[in-house]
Structures are given as C-alpha cells and as structure tokens.
Symmetry: C2
Subunit: 389 residues, 2 copies
C-alpha cells in the first residue's frame, strides 16, 4: 500500500476525472458502493482466485468473543477485491430505482492481500463501466467505444483491444477433442500463451488431456487467423466503424474470471508490459443476488498502469507565492482573494530569515513567481512579481 | 454503510470537487494515504474514543494460524478512523520530499464501527486541510479563510466558526478551582453544555469536584462575554478582516480529541442540528512518529452533513437520448461522437416494443429530449429532436 505525494496524486486525480467526464458524456452514471461487503458475498465463488485474497474484517464486541470461544468464523466483513461483485449486489438492492438499462461508472479502491511485488499493490484504484439490462451487442459497442474515447481523452491513443467470445473459445476447445467438463481447466492452460508460447501450451494440454490433444492444439494455435472475424463478433467491428482498427480478434484470449459468459476484452498498449484494462459479459452473475437473471457486461481500466503511460501533470492555472512581511496577514488575505478571483493559484508564506532558501525550495516545487507583501500594500496592482531562480 | 445512487453520487462528487478546487486555488496540495494502517498506530492513544471503533483486519495465512494457536492478537491492520493520524504518519515518512511548510488536502473514506443510527455512518467521507510546519497564526488564518471560501463556493454562505484555545480553556478551568490534573475530566463535562445547559454542567462539575466548584462554574458560565476576544485569538479576527463576522469566540468550546494543543474550531450552520466541521492545532502529534516535533493545525469539513444543506445537482450540459432502430448501431456511434463533440451528453437506447414506457422512464430520470436514429441517418443535422413527455 502506498502514499501518494502531491505530484502523483494530481496526475491520478486528473486522469480519473477526465475518464469519468468522458463516460458521463456517453450517458453513464456514477454510483458508489461501500468498501466493506459481507464476507459471505465476497467468498461465494464469483470472484475466482481473488476470493483467496480477501482482507477479512473481524467481528466486533461480544460477537467476536463468542465466535472465538466457539471456534466459529471470526470475520463477518471483507474489503472488496473488485467493483463487479459489489455492482451486482448494488443492482439487486436498488434496481427498482434505476433505469431499465443501467449504465454505471464506478471508480474506487479495491484490495487484495497479495505478497507485495513490482506492479502489484494491495490497494489500487479500479475505474469500471458496466451496462446491466441490455443483452444486445449495443452494450459491447458502447463499452468499447467509451473506453477508447476515454483513453484518447487522457492522451493514450494507440491502445488495442483484443476481443474474443467465451462460447467460441469453448467450441474451439471442444474441437481439439477436450470434453466440455474439462473446458475450464483447458482455459487456464491456454491463458498462459503469453508466457509459455504455443509449444508450451500444446505440451501442457497434451500432458493433461493426452498426446492427441497436444497435436490438435499445436495445429489450432499455429493456424490462427485473426483476420477471420467470426459472425458473432462481426457486429462489433461493423458498429465501431473507423475505430474498429483498434480492435483485434484473438481466439486464444481467456480472461481469468470464471463468471464471463460471452464477449471478453483485454486492452493492450505498446508502452505497457501487461494489459491496461479488460472485461466481458457476465450474464449469470446479477441473477445470483436478484433471483431473476439480468444481462450484464463491463470493462475496467487499470489506473495504476495507465498513469505510467501519460506525462506528468502541469499546473493548469498560474501559481504565485505571496511572501508576507511581519503583520501583513490581514492584507495578504485580501490580496489572495483578489488574485484567486482573477484565476490564479496563490500560496502564502511567512518571510523567513533565509529568503533565498525558501525561494529555492519553492522553485523545486514548481513555483515560478513571487511577490513580497508588506502591511502597507493595499492592492494587488502594487505587487511586484519576480521570477523565482 | 450505504450505496449511493446516481443522483446522490453526482451531488457528492460535485460538492467535493468544488471544495478541493477552492483549496487548490489557495496553494494547498492533494495527497492520498492508504485506507489500511498498522493497527498499532491506530490504537496508540492519539485518536481518543475513536480508537475503540477501529475495524480490525485479520492477519493472513500462517501468521493468522500461529496467532490463533498462541492466543496472540489476530489482527495486524485496521481501517483508518480519521485522516489526521494517517497524515501525521505520511508527514513523518515523506517530509524530506515535501515543502518546508506543507499544506495538505485529503478527501477519502474513514471508518468507525459504530452502531448504525441516524446521521452516523460506519463509512463516511472526510474532507480535510492541514498545515504542517507553521507555528504562526497565519496557518490558522489560512485554514479558516479557505474553509469559509470553500463553503461559499458550494453555496453555503451563512456558516459560523466558533473559536477557542485549549490553553485559555485550561486556565479558565483552573480559575474555577479545579486542579490541572483534573482538567481533561472537567472538559468532558463542559463539552456537554449544548445538551445539559449551564445548570447541568455546573451541577456535574460540583458533583465531581466539590460544591464550591458548582458555584464558581455557574458564575463563570453565566458571565461569559463572547465579545471580549482574548489577545491570543485577536490576530485571527484582525487577519480575517470582513470575513471575521463569521467567527464567534466561544470560551466553552472543547472539541473531543485529546491531541489538540492550541486553537480549536467548530463550524456551525443554522440548517444543521450538529456541527458541519471542526479542527484545531495539534502540535505534539507529528513528533510522535517523526521524533522531532512539527507544529500542525487542521480543519475538517463533514461532507455527509454539508450535502444536506445544498440543493440537488442539475445536469451541467444538455442531455439527449438517441433511440436506435434496428441495425442503427454503427450510425449511432458516429452521431454520438458528433453530438458529444458539440458539448452534449448522449445516452443510447435500443428502440423497445413499448417506446412510450421507455420515454416515460427516461423522463423520470431527468431526460428531456430524444431523437430516433435509423440505419440511414447520416448526419446529426438530420435528427429530429422531440421533447419527452
């Protein structure tokens, strides 16, 4: 878990605000769910491996004492590991107050009790959009178009979205000679393609399901034609029009989560070693809490990775420093108000004994202009602004 | 803990963004600390009663098993109960990379394991500014002026800030005949003034410290002159100038937290039954982690209470709905882009069998205009926008 210093925080906040603004322009609406959810819900089998990484929150007071005495579960709450499980719970709780087709924006911290390592954090921000209640391809189109527009808005223009469909993947796996019940296990192996290559995947599939499978897998993986977009995905290419050049069909794309039922996406960027976002259709999950099924599809941007792709933030308005001589507080308060009203950012500093050291430090912190304020200054027009350094 | 539906979330986000923007204009800088902190730090005696309300996070893996077997503490992390303890820890960790006088903005969720009751939440947002490294009254002036400006920016114009000083309060308590070592206990009783009145406070002080104290307390509390601003606070009134009319000296103001060492503030508003913010100087706290003392003063706005004082948010840009006939997706994607570029918010909907029901529902959700898009529409100029309802 990390502290964010002012410069980093500014960059992150601007990035998130721009993404959210871009989503709002497309009719998506922000919602918020609590950081804590019932532990039972977080470990109900929807979250795959992430369920093992839940930070558990202890019961309180007598409930804790009792649970400890009776050897029962000591925790009743957990920190959410993603924003999708909370969203589906939110939709089940609140659907009567929401539009029939609900288009949600969520940004907020999620938590995973991973061993600290480069690029993995125990607290990180997710930035998700989801559409619940639309089973048509329009939902996919809106998510992909909105994601590309959001990335463009923050200056990330050369992202590619890999697209696949879980049913296609399943039928490809069956065509290799692997039974439907082994499909999930085969996907876990195929998901390693980036790391172990075609030979490696074919070998592992062979070891698990027999030598014949190794050959059929090898043949399939070497013959893949990403230009041959299947009919079920063609409307996405057609619908995105000129932006479709940012799509790439990838019949081997798996996406880890068990809950996906249809289209799946993963966003890549040449400047990032790993994916900068992803998502897919999860039509069965809302029904788990709601009782009746509701179609749903979502996409998530990885803020931690995207933030590294864009240049540092610059100040948006002119920043100046007023350095106060003794007894100049009241005057400085008025001047500050006056300068802010004219669109400036105004930092106040007491005049220290070592003015030079202060100016150096302010220069290092990005300030370029200062003026001295004395108790007799009566108007901002009297200020004599000088360059720092 | 609560879900926030789109309308509420929008209002909260706008409020927070406006407050932060107003602080940034005054040279404050946003930072962020993790939601989780070491449990030991959260329960080290700095947080008063809030320390009893920490949500504890269980150790993981073998560490947990071992702790359970050996009857040791089962938790190692906790959810922060305020933003002040994390800020002082942040400053101690990062002070070498920060300006000599550090002016921080923090907004984020804090957590308290309270029994759910009206107006108290287990997760809520705090919005704090703090100045570390300035022991002069300029720091107080900046906080008070920035808070009043932020409230004004969100349309809350008639707030009053009650001001007192812990040392004044202590000397007043000693003047009643209560020994310095009983000062803290006396403060807890004086803090009930709003609830039990002068008679009640005098009586409780008498019961605790002797009958003579009841009389001296009664005399003190009935003779209080809020116009008689003490010398130590006068520079605040002088420095704020015309805005000083929003200040009120209150020699009975206590503020609960044990860590305050100097000025204390509480923000009131006629529309709110309880305070909408508060803070004070806590010069001893940073030193606890840093080793050497650093003067510090902060003020916090209560977002949950302020949000009730302002009217609901209206859409900032024109929102329209495009309703798509069959096969109009690709066309709609282009039209949406075109309309967004002209400054609109554009929601897409498939044309359902029951168009009337959809339009009614859109109207209830605040949309006022729609147009039908067919596969042959080729430009936004062709769209025939109609009023909803």
């Amino acid at each position: 878990m990390r502290d964010f210093l002012p410069q980093d925080k500014l960059k992150r906040e601007r990035l998130i605000a721009t993404v959210v603004e871009s989503y709002i322009a497309r009719g998506f609406q922000q919602i918020e769910t609590p950081v804590l959810e019932d532990l039972g819900r977080l470990t109900s089998g929807q979250g795959g491996d992430n369920e093992k990484l839940v930070f558990k929150v202890q019961k309180r007071g007598e409930e804790f004492t009792q649970a400890l005495e009776q050897g029962e579960e000591l925790a009743d709450l957990g920190l959410r590991f993603d924003l999708t499980v909370p969203l589906t719970r939110f939709y089940a709780s609140n659907h009567s107050k929401l539009p029939r087709v609900f288009k949600a924006i969520q940004t907020g911290p999620v938590f995973r009790a991973e061993r600290p390592q480069k690029g993995r954090y125990r607290q990180f921000i997710q930035c998700d959009i989801d559409i619940i209640g639309d089973d048509s391809i329009l939902a996919e189109l809106e998510l992909l178009s909105a994601s590309l527009a959001a990335l463009e808005a923050i200056g990330v223009t050369d992202a590619t979205i890999r697209v696949n469909h879980r049913e296609l993947l399943r039928s490809n796996i069956e065509a290799l000679g692997i039974s439907a019940s082994d499909s999930q296990a085969a996907m876990i192996i195929i998901d390693k393609l980036d790391k172990i290559g075609i030979e490696g995947v074919a070998k592992e599939l062979g070891e698990k399901f027999g030598e014949a499978i190794q050959n059929s897998a090898q043949a399939w993986l070497t013959s893949i034609d990403v230009k041959n977009i299947p009919a079920v995905l063609q409307p996405i290419w057609d619908g995105l029009g000129v932006k479709a050049k940012s799509l790439r069909f990838d019949p081997t794309l798996v996406r880890g989560m068990g809950y996906y039922t249809g289209t799946i996406f993963e966003i890549e960027h040449p400047g990032s070693g790993s994916s900068i976002g992803g998502g897919g259709r999860y039509d069965g999950m809302v029904g788990k809490w709601l009782g009746t099924d509701a179609p749903a599809v979502g996409i998530s941007l990885g803020v931690e990775r995207i933030v590294d792709l864009i240049p540092d933030s610059k100040a948006t308005s002119e920043s100046v420093v007023l350095i106060l001589e003794e007894n100049a507080q009241a005057v400085a308060m008025q001047l500050q108000q006056q300068l802010i009203a004219s669109g400036m950012q105004v930092r106040l500093e007491q005049r220290p004994k070592n003015l030079k050291a202060l100016l150096e430090q302010l220069g290092e912190n990005g300030y370029a202009k200062f003026a001295i304020v004395s108790a007799t200054t009566s108007d901002a027009a009297e200020l004599d602004f000088k360059q720092i350094g």
